[in-house]
């Protein structure tokens, strides 16, 4: 085993630590930074519960060595909350549409969705399904999750457009979602 001095920017804060060579980024986030929104599901890259945004791209944090992440910028579910602690439109949409049951896959699912919507603000249902194909949900099933991401996309787009009919800013009428 070797020890490695790393500096990783997590949700905007630089976290420096000395980590053993076999420590994964997932372990670094949960055990050293103590960010437990990142879930430890299978720890071998199959389930996607540990998904974070790594240098702008959604990845499985259990498949990256912490030492490899030196100098990287990482965003977790904790980064999505607003300045007043308000939830992100993707989180609201998941709650409203019942896209959450046990909740274990939810942070990973939402981080994948967040990276998708950054790159493709109005994805089709098929594109949403393809993007979350590496995130497993064993209770809710995927229909509501896909619908929630679709709804979040519409709301984020109208927020950006300054559309007064957006529900989140409290003005105008509720956006209907079929």
């Amino acid at each position: 085993m070797t020890l490695h001095s790393v500096g990783i920017k997590v949700n905007g804060l630089l976290r420096a630590a000395v980590v053993p060579s076999h420590m994964t980024l997932l372990q670094f986030l949960r055990e050293i930074v103590r960010i437990t929104g990142v879930k430890d599901g299978c720890a071998e890259g199959d389930c996607g519960a540990c998904t974070v945004i790594f240098n702008g791209r959604a990845v499985k944090s259990c498949l990256i060595l912490a030492a490899q992440a030196d100098g990287a910028e990482v965003l977790t579910i904790e980064s999505l909350k607003g300045p007043e602690g308000e939830l992100h439109p993707i989180q609201n949409a998941f709650m409203e549409l019942g896209a959450v049951q046990c909740g274990y896959c939810t942070p990973g699912m939402i981080m994948t969705a967040s990276a998708l919507l950054d790159a493709n603000p109005r994805p089709t249902r098929e594109e949403i399904r393809a993007s979350i194909s590496g995130n497993l949900c064993r209770c809710t099933g995927y229909s509501k999750i896909v619908s929630a991401i679709e709804l979040a996309a519409i709301r984020i787009a109208s927020l950006k457009a300054g559309d007064e009919s957006c529900e989140i800013c409290g003005k105008g009428k509720r956006i209907r979602h079929e």
């Binding site: 490695h4 053993p20 076999h22 994964t24 890259g45 499985k60 990256i64 030492a67 030196d70 590496g134």
Partner: protein, 295 residues
């Protein structure tokens, strides 16, 4: 996870010097195979050398007659690259079908080659496209056709101290086309039960050249030399007529002589033998259609 020493290589020179000093080491890049396999105790490296900082191995570039892809290129980058989609369609399709989007953003083409799984998806595509590999070491460099690189499950022709630097695909000027298809249990995170890639060149309505490669059907990904011989020189309309009539051309019987599938957790050898020919036929047809569009 089993403990190992880790060295973060600063540049290619640092990597090659470290490899020469420590022949017991294993290179780690995307780590998408490394972490699960070390975790399961299947790989027990004394020293792992991380190469993710080696920007000199991270490129896609076109030079006279070749499309060259650095070994650190990820499957996601290859799947999205316009020039790979255009000139090496089979490889773009193969890369888009590996694992899932999250893993494709990390897993590298060099890693897929060096792990040398018989079920790898990018490898049949590269084989059908006629890939040559550039291998580097402190002693210098050599080029090796991909066929000679693949030796057995998990075994490659890499010598101690050597690293895979780039994958070179010949770019043919004529009417060429290629395609890749995999058969798996689901669309994401499925290891191929069988897969196929074909590349064809058409001249005067005839198949002037063809390369057909199959995966998960032999100890390594394999070319199908017998089927290729029986297809070379055939008229394109005859092959198309066979497909329309749902007839098995004689060349399809030959495909079965080019493979030696086994039973495993994903499928029986008998099933694999059955699906090999339709997969091969579909990919030859797809490649022919694309070659005709490119006329």
């Amino acid at each position: 996870m089993t403990e190992f020493d880790l060295l973060i290589a600063r540049d290619l020179r640092h990597l090659l010097e470290s490899l020469a000093e420590r022949p017991d080491s294993r290179i780690v890049a995307g780590a998408t195979d490394f972490i699960p396999l070390v975790g399961a105790g299947k790989w027990e490296p004394r020293l792992a050398i991380d190469i993710t900082r080696l920007q000199e191995l991270h490129f896609i570039r076109q030079t006279a007659g070749w499309l060259c892809i650095g070994s650190l290129t990820t499957h996601g980058e290859a799947a999205e690259s316009p020039c790979i989609n255009d000139m090496a369609t089979a490889l773009a399709e193969a890369c888009a079908s590996v694992a899932d989007p999250l893993i494709r953003g990390r897993a590298t083409l060099g890693g897929n080659l060096c792990t040398a799984s018989p079920a790898a998806d990018s490898v049949p595509a590269m084989l059908a496209l006629g890939a040559e590999l550039r291998l580097v070491s402190l002693a210098g460099e050599r080029r090796l056709p991909l066929e000679e690189f693949l030796i057995g499950p998990g075994k490659t022709a890499l010598l101690p101290g050597e690293a895979l630097a780039e994958i070179c695909l010949p770019v043919s000027p004529g009417h060429v086309g290629s395609g890749f298809l995999k058969l798996g249990r689901r669309r994401a995170m499925a290891i191929s039960v069988a897969n196929a890639a074909a590349w064809v060149s058409i001249d005067g309505g005839m198949i002037s050249d063809i390369r057909l490669a199959l995966g998960s059907l032999a100890p390594t990904v394999v070319r199908c030399p017998k089927a290729e011989v029986s297809l070379r020189g055939r008229r394109v309309i005859d092959i198309e007529a066979e497909v329309r009539a749902a007839a098995d051309g004689d060349w399809l019987g030959v495909v079965r002589h080019d493979i030696s599938p086994i039973d495993d957790v994903r499928a029986s050898g008998a099933y694999r033998r059955r699906v090999a020919a339709p997969l091969a036929q579909r990919m030859v047809t797809t490649a022919l259609e694309r070659a005709k569009v490119n006329i």
